[in-house]
Structures are given as structure tokens and as C-alpha cells.
Symmetry: C2
Subunit: 246 residues, 2 copies
DNA sequence: CTTTATCATTGACCCAGATCAACCCTGTGG
DNA sequence: CCACAGGGTTGATCTGGGTCAATGATAAAG
């Protein structure tokens, strides 16, 4: 291990990965996530706790009700978050995209299950380590709280969708919602990636796979969308947005 | 104003209301709410910021999208929280009971509307004042975060109810859910108070008023409940719980 | 190339819950 | 006392979306 001059240590902290290739400092989703709350030095502290992990499609990150020993920050890919009823009915409560943080609640058991939809990269932290960090970083806690209340707002919006929207409005709200979230990660898009299956979409919207399929083909027939492999291109975003508003 | 001996000030802080009748110290829902995070001295600080308010039935506490200058801690009564669609469809996203805190998000606009179902008492804080208090009380922030993630969990559970449960299961889940929440406030109950209208229940569960009414009368016919004025008595709690689990 | 598997689409039919329409309370005011 | 207003209940009917059943497309395996 090469020595680091003392005068350098002050400006550029001795952060094992920061001197290498893939440090937090050059993480493309840093500003979207919890990490945005940290300065350069704190980032190193966090990085020391982080463990890079990858998950192949369908691999599980964690399972509902099991001890929550790890929390994750998604850096690449899509994760589905869901709850199962004893008889097999499933409700997907959300899709986590790059920048999303799983484990906001710091509870001792997971409140839902999570598995990879496509190959996923994530920073893994032990709950204990992260919790300790939190204890003397109130601004990190504040950031976490900010993200938690944002999630709460999204969940409440989804309650409106599930409780009071028609099938057509539900599908439209998914497409517009995902478009806007992808836009924050990748920049503005006209082709919305839909890496998840029709069954996943159905379980998110409280519909069946057949209704999702029929609704999408109807949108395509009416030239509002074009169905492409693993996504849809929004041909008439205005009309789609109108369906989510009215 | 009578002088307070210096040696007394230390143990019993000079808290205007604490020396009177209705201080935070003897608030019956204190331990259920944010306030549980504060010690006696901090409680006084909080109390100095609080303004006791009352709302008659149907009066509004605040309206969605309007500037969120106040936050509320409900001390008595029931508040309905809801979102409206432009065409008048309504989704009730929750009922706030004594001990519940409205304004967890500290956002600058309200994310939903809130109005009193029955006569309501609440402690009102200016958002600014409360936010300042938060800045130098990390444990208060931690408590707030705890409550926010609890709310998030409830919202996710409700997503399962709205997306994947039958009408019968929905009504059962409301009754069991309210019973358990009332139990934390008033102690264990067999008669679940339902001060809200059938329309409110319908808008919470994503049903119509007729379906709610029919489902309740079916439960009554099958001797699972007894319908009483402003509530139901659970005659067979086990069977009701079974409906929410399976 | 064929086989097998997985997912998506499409059609025919059905049903849980919505809609429409009385009717019935209970309380309030004249 | 009656009138009448705002819930709540009940019944008859309708329909959006579910269920069941093929069929089609894509891809990996042999």
C-alpha cells in the first residue's frame, strides 16, 4: 500500500476506492440518492461500509418478514418490491430504479420482498453500520426522512390509482410515472423501458395480465403508443397524460 | 406572575401550561405520538409552540396543494385524509386517530386534504417553528422518521387491500385495523366505533356505499358482527381476522 | 432444424361489484 | 303533529374486468 503525503490527505481523504476506478465520488446516481446529503469526507466513510453487489434476474435481494440485516442502494437495474398473500395473490408495491434506497425504515425485519427484474447492481450496507453512521449525522437522517416521506407520497398516489382508477387510467399512470422516473435517471425519454413482465405490471396495478395486454394493444391501435421489445414508445404523450389527470 | 425559586426551576421547568390544568405532561396520548421522544424540558419548549385547536364535524384542517404552514397533532376525535380527482372521485388515504401526526413530510404544500369526522381537538404548530425545533433535536427527527416509516408500512398494506382483496376482505380489514388502532388509544375494545359515514368507508376501501352496506349486513346476518349506532360489535373476532389473513 | 418453455395476445363467456331506483329510518324544525 | 333532509338499506339490472381456453411469438436447448 503506497504512502499518502499528509498534505494530500486533508483535501483528498484516504478513501480506498476513491483513488481507484469506481468510487462514490464518480457514481452517476449519487445526487439522486441518500448519498447526496454527504460531503466528500463523509462519502468516504460511507464507502468504507459499502459492499458492491450484483443480482441476476429473478434473484432475491431479501424476503418479507426475514431479519433486515442489510440495506441496499440500487445503482443499476430494476427491482420489484412486493407482498404475497397466503393464497398466492401478489401485490407489487413498487419498482425500485437506480438511485432508490431499500431499507428506509431501519426496522428489524423487511416489510416486503424484493427481487431483481433485470441484472441489478447495488451498494449493500449492514443495517448496524448504517444505523451507527446515522447516529452522528443528523443531515443524513434528514435526507433519509425526506426520501421516506417522498415514498409515502408515492404510495398515497398509488392508493388513488388502485382504489379509484379504471384499467385504462391505471396503465396510463404506470407509463407516465415510469417515464418521469426514468427521465430523472437517464434524461428525457420517449421510449419507456418496461423490463418487467405483464404479470408484474398487472400485480402492480391490481389488474390481470389479460387486461394489461388488452389495454396496451388498444392504446397501440389508437396510435397513442407503439409497442416495442421491452418497452413502449409514447406517440401521443399529451393524450396519455390526459388519461392520468382526468 | 409569581416568582419561581431557582432550585425549583431545575426540576420543574417554568412551563406556562404545565403549572395549569392541561399541560403536555398529562396529555393522555403523549406516548403514542411524536412527543414521546421528548424529555420534560423539551416538552415545555414544544408546548410553547403549540396552539390548542378544535374543529367541528366536516370542518377542514387543511386542503391538498395549499401552502403547508401548519402541522397538527390530533389529541381527540377522528380526521379523514383524502385526495380528490378532478371529476369528483375521492380516495380516502387514511383516518387519523388521537396520537396521529399530520405533517410528517415537512413539505411546503399539503399532499392531501383533511377534515374532521367528529369534533376534533388538535395541537397546532407552525411548520417553521417545528422545523427549527427539529434542527437541534436529532432524536425528535428520529422519532418523526420512525412515524413516517410506520405510515409508509400502513400505506403499503393498504395497497394490498385495494389491489388484491375482495369486498368482503376489504371490509374485514378495515374493522380489524380500526379495532387494533382504537385499542392502542382507548384500550381493548369489542365494539369498534365507526364515526365515519358509509361513503367514507367506501372511499377508503375502493368500493361503493351499497357494497359496504350489503357486506356489513351479510356479516350481521352471519352473526360475525352486530351493527350498533356509530359502530359494530365484533361477535366473532376470530372469523373476522381469518378474512383479513387468508 | 425441431422441441420445449415462457411469455404475450386474443376471443368467448361469466361474475363481483357498480349502477339505478325505491324505500326506510332518525332527527330537526315548523 | 307533519314535512323533509341526510344518512342507510335493499332490490333489480348492468358492465368492466376477471376467468378460461386457445393461439402466437421468441428464445434457449437438443
Amino acid at each position: 500500500m503506497p504512502a499518502v503525503p499528509a498534505e494530500n490527505r486533508a483535501v483528498r481523504p484516504s478513501c480506498s476506492r476513491a483513488r481507484g476506478e469506481v468510487g462514490c465520488a464518480k457514481c452517476k446516481i449519487r445526487l439522486l440518492s441518500v448519498c447526496a446529503a454527504l460531503d466528500e469526507n463523509e462519502l468516504c466513510e460511507l464507502e468504507a461500509l459499502a459492499q458492491q453487489t450484483v443480482f441476476e434476474p429473478k434473484k432475491t435481494l431479501f424476503i418479507q418478514d426475514e431479519p433486515a440485516d442489510a440495506i441496499y442502494n440500487i445503482t443499476d437495474g430494476v427491482v420489484r418490491l412486493y407482498k404475497l398473500l397466503p393464497d398466492g395473490r401478489r401485490q407489487i408495491i413498487g419498482f425500485a430504479l437506480p438511485g432508490n434506497f431499500l431499507g428506509l425504515s431501519m426496522a428489524d425485519r423487511y416489510g416486503f420482498s424484493a427481487d431483481a427484474v433485470v441484472p441489478v447492481k447495488a451498494c449493500r450496507f449492514s443495517r448496524e453500520g448504517f444505523s451507527n453512521l446515522l447516529d452522528d449525522k443528523p443531515h443524513l437522517l434528514r435526507r433519509l426522512h425526506e426520501l421516506a416521506t417522498h415514498e409515502l407520497t408515492l404510495a398515497q398516489d398509488q392508493m388513488v390509482v388502485l382504489g379509484r382508477r379504471s384499467a385504462e387510467e391505471k396503465v396510463a399512470s404506470l407509463l407516465i410515472g415510469l417515464r418521469d422516473r426514468w427521465a430523472r435517471v437517464n434524461g428525457v425519454v420517449v421510449t419507456v423501458p418496461l423490463p418487467m413482465s405483464r404479470q408484474d405490471i398487472a400485480d402492480f396495478l391490481g389488474l390481470t395480465i389479460e387486461t394489461v395486454s388488452r389495454t396496451l394493444t388498444r392504446f397501440a391501435r389508437e396510435k397513442i403508443i407503439l409497442i416495442v421489445p421491452d418497452g413502449v414508445r409514447l406517440l401521443d404523450p399529451r393524450r396519455m397524460e390526459a388519461l392520468t389527470e382526468a
